[in-house]
């Protein structure tokens, strides 16, 4: 009895897991196609679909680009802003290609990582801080659009990247806003058409409504008529930039794996050798005694010999009745019918048809009916 219970338990757990999976898939359905954070088509909390749609409503021509090839073919003029989110996937070579092809426009890098910032200029620093709300308080003169009108706006995010350089004469001598921890969250790289924005969360669907985040985002991205929103694809990177996984692992892993494999082989050799050969049993011949009768039944069935079967059933019934009614074994069939009819107090005619009809049943159903009637007759005679 205890057998099925654990099985049912596992079944319930399995069903619950499937349900949970279904709910998860259903609820995350929208963000499923573009799961990248700050993707312009990602409606999830981390996505930036809200910003993209608002920009489109405002009349900005938003063009989403998802690979370096397409980006190269996109015409960038001085009325174009290039917004790059998900810069984790931006390889140095792709950045280089962008800087070359978008000389006319303005490139905004959102949340540039340390490695990327160092790639832009060796003197640049990027650190992650967790500030309170920041006021714009812009300094320096902006060489590019998008900085005017920021004054008086408050930026409020949980976490941002602060950009700084080594001091006077550094690459960040241009305009810089939202100062914090010795650097600023928004900075222009002097001599280039490059703007670094460290507070990417402010563009996200869930935080864009905090403080003046929305205004800041719109000014940054919507400063021009046209916005090319570039979402980097890691496969754009050139082959030599890809990080080999082997360089991340300790050096002893390879030889260690070899040694473990050898140990496994030894384990197999240890367990595979049994203590002496298998002992065998000379098996006896065993046949079910009833097998001959069964196979004869199958033979009747296959050949459809209903005539023989019906005759056999009737003869057996007659002999049984004769024995029950204390008639001689060799009694005439008519005598058996007569005795049975007298015994049961019924008419002899139907009994005679049942017991002595020589016509074979037309179908298997008829045969089954005949067998059942004979069995019932025998039972009645036995009882009565």
């Amino acid at each position: 009895m205890s057998g099925p219970r654990p099985v049912r338990g596992w079944l319930l757990i399995g069903i619950a897991l499937l349900l949970a999976l279904g709910v998860a898939v259903w609820t995350t359905n929208g963000s499923e196609r573009y799961p990248t954070p700050l993707d312009p088509r990602n409606p999830g909390p981390e996505g930036a679909q809200a910003l993209a749609e608002v920009l489109e409503d405002e009349g900005v021509d938003v063009e989403v680009v998802r690979s370096a090839e397409v980006f190269d073919e996109t015409a960038i003029d001085d009325r174009t802003t290039v917004l790059v989110t998900a810069t984790d996937g931006l390889s140095p070579s792709t950045l280089e290609r962008m800087r070359n092809s978008a000389t006319a426009g303005r490139i905004v890098l959102v949340d540039p990582a340390y490695a990327l910032v160092r790639e832009i200029n060796k003197d640049l620093q990027a650190i992650t801080v967790f500030p309170d709300a920041l006021d714009a308080e812009c300094t320096g003169s902006p060489g590019l659009d998008g900085f005017d009108g920021l004054d008086g706006l408050r930026l409020e995010v949980d976490q941002l990247t602060v950009l700084s350089d080594d001091g006077a004469g550094g690459p960040l001598d241009g305009a810089a806003c939202f100062a914090a921890s010795g650097g600023s969250a928004l900075a222009e790289v002097s001599g280039e058409n490059l703007v670094l924005f460290g507070a990417g969360d402010a563009l996200g669907n869930d935080q864009v409504t905090r403080a003046d985040n929305a205004a800041i985002a719109l000014r940054l991205a919507g400063g021009t008529d046209r916005l090319v929103w570039y979402v980097p694809d890691p496969t754009d990177a050139e082959a030599d930039e890809a990080v080999a996984i082997s360089s991340l692992l300790p050096r002893w892993i390879g030889p260690g794996l070899w040694l473990t494999a050898l140990a496994l082989v030894a384990l197999v050799l240890w367990r595979a050798r049994r203590l002496g050969p298998l002992s065998t049993e000379p098996l006896p011949v065993v046949v079910r005694a009833v097998e001959t009768a069964r196979s004869r039944g199958r033979m009747y069935r296959r050949s459809g010999d209903r005539e023989h079967v019906a005759r056999s059933l009737r003869r057996a019934a007659r002999n049984d009745l004769a024995a029950r009614l204390r008639l001689d074994r060799r009694a005439e069939p008519a005598a058996v019918v007569e005795a049975a009819a007298r015994h049961l107090g019924v008419a002899a005619e139907p009994l005679d048809t049942l017991l002595n009809d020589h016509r074979p049943p037309a179908s298997d159903q008829d045969l089954v009916r005949l067998a059942e009637e004979l069995a019932r007759l025998r039972r009645e005679v036995r009882r009565g």
Binding site: P250, R251, W252, G254, P255, G256, W258, L259, T260, L262, A263, L264, A266, L267, L269, W270, R273, L275, G276, P277, S279, T280, E281, P282, P284, V285, V286, V287, R288, A289, V290, E291, T292, A293, R294, R296, G297, R298, Y300, R301, H308, V309, A310, S312, L313, R315, A316, N319, R329, D364, Q365, L367, V368, A371, E372, L374, A375, R376, R378, R379
Partner: protein
């Protein structure tokens, strides 16, 4: 050669070396070191051949009773050995806990016992003794399997022994030894004694009463010193597996041969107590066992010994040879009990032609193990909604039963008594028939 579980562990220890010197060469060096250590261990391993094994035969047990296989292991080398010994038997011998681990100093010997629990009747053989000798480090060892013959003989269980006391009581009634003296018909005159109330008046000996002051009755004792020949058929029909009783599954049942053995044992035990002499014969195409059991106390044990190694053979019985063997056992009139199956085709071809010869000299009883499955198959009334398959099967079964009852008539016409009963019922039924014949003085 074998390696132990310490070898993979030793190889894994090399991980420490690999971490300290992370180069492929380290792995090779470590592997080489391990192989060298194993080789050294192997060189120092005592040969398994320095152990001498001998066996004491477990002997004979009744099926279902435990036995013990005892193996003497002696170290004839000059060094102590650390060995594993496996005393393998064929699976049906039920050798559990047959792996032994022991340390044997030089020149000593140890007795290893393996419990056996035979699950099959017959001679069950030892499969071989495997000796695995370990080196001093326990990393590698040498293994060799030796053939150390051994046999445990499992006797047929004689389950019908429980019917013996009641049949013996009835035999004593016949015998006149019990308080109630029965006047048998056609039995042998025993003695005269004084009439007591309750005696049959027909047994009063008037002639003797006339000579004494009392009324004297004759008492009778059943015939003694008759011959009973039990013939066990081991041919193809005896291989059929039948259920023990109605309603049980044939898969849990036993071959007809085993049921017939049970019946033969009960009859043998009963007849020997009744003072008859018993001859036992078993065979199919040729005679496989022949035993005269005269004046022995435990007849059943002798018969069990004879039956232990009989197995059904898939050939047709040669009744000419078997009848010849019966005749060869003696010309004196005997009760010949043929334990075979009431299988019309087998009997018509083989047994019928020789029966007249047998019935002319002997009283012949044919005892057959009935298959309850056949009756169940033929009875459609027990099936709630019969299908066409059921009906065809029932017709075949009824046809078979019909042929059997005709064969019974033929046999009865030849003067052969037929005892046909289920496997569990056959031994008492046959014993009752024997007592019936004895009471009638028909032996």
């Amino acid at each position: 050669m074998v390696i132990s579980g310490r070898v993979p562990l030793l190889l894994l220890l090399g991980l420490a070396a690999v971490v300290l010197r992370p180069q492929p060469g380290t792995v090779l060096l470590w592997l080489l070191g391990v192989v060298l250590v194993i080789g050294a261990d192997l060189l120092l391993t005592p040969r398994p051949a320095t152990l001498r094994t001998s066996r004491r035969e477990p002997g004979t047990v009744r099926l279902g009773d435990p036995a013990t296989a005892s193996l003497l292991v002696a170290n004839e080398g000059t060094r102590g050995v650390r060995v594993q010994v496996r005393d393998a038997w064929q699976p049906s011998a039920g050798a559990t806990a047959n792996r032994h681990r022991l340390r044997l100093p030089a020149g000593e010997q140890r007795r290893l016992t393996t419990p056996l629990l035979p699950r099959r009747r017959g001679d069950l053989h030892a499969a071989g003794v495997t000796v695995r000798s370990w080196g001093p480090l326990g990393l590698a060892g040498l293994q060799r399997t030796y053939d150390v013959p051994g046999t445990v003989r499992a006797l047929p269980p004689f389950e019908s022994r429980k019917h013996l006391p009641s049949r013996l009581a009835r035999l004593r009634d016949l015998d006149g030894r019990a308080a109630v003296r029965v006047r048998g018909q056609g039995t042998e005159f025993d003695s005269l004694r004084e009439y007591v109330r309750g005696d049959d008046v027909r047994s009063i000996d008037w002639r003797a009463s006339a000579r004494t002051a009392h009324v004297v009755v004759r008492t009778w004792q059943p015939e003694r010193d008759r011959r009973v020949v039990i013939v066990l058929d081991t041919s193809r029909t005896s291989a059929g597996r039948v259920a023990r009783a109605v309603g049980e599954d044939a898969a849990d049942g036993m071959p007809r041969l085993d049921a017939a053995m049970d019946a033969a044992l009960l009859l043998g035990a009963l007849a020997s107590r009744a003072g008859d002499r018993i001859d036992f014969l078993a065979g199919d195409r040729r005679v496989r066992a022949r035993q005269r059991v005269h004046g022995v106390r435990d007849v059943a044990a002798r018969l069990q010994e004879q039956m232990a190694d009989l197995d059904p053979v898939l050939v047709e019985a040669d009744w000419d040879a078997l009848a010849g063997a019966v005749q060869g056992l003696g010309r004196q009139r005997a009760l010949v009990v043929l334990l075979t199956a009431l299988e019309p085709s087998a009997i018509a071809d083989g047994l019928l032609p020789v029966l007249p010869t047998l019935t002319r000299h002997h009283r012949v009883v044919l005892a057959s193990v009935r298959d309850p499955e056949l009756g169940r198959l033929s009875d459609l009334g027990s099936v709630a909604r019969p299908t066409a398959d059921d009906v065809y099967d029932a017709a075949a079964a009824q046809h078979e039963l019909e042929r059997r009852s005709r064969m019974r008539e033929v046999l009865a016409g030849l003067g052969v008594d037929v005892v046909d009963a289920d496997a569990a019922q056959l031994p008492p039924a046959l014993a009752d028939h024997y007592l019936h014949l004895k009471a009638q003085g028909l032996l």
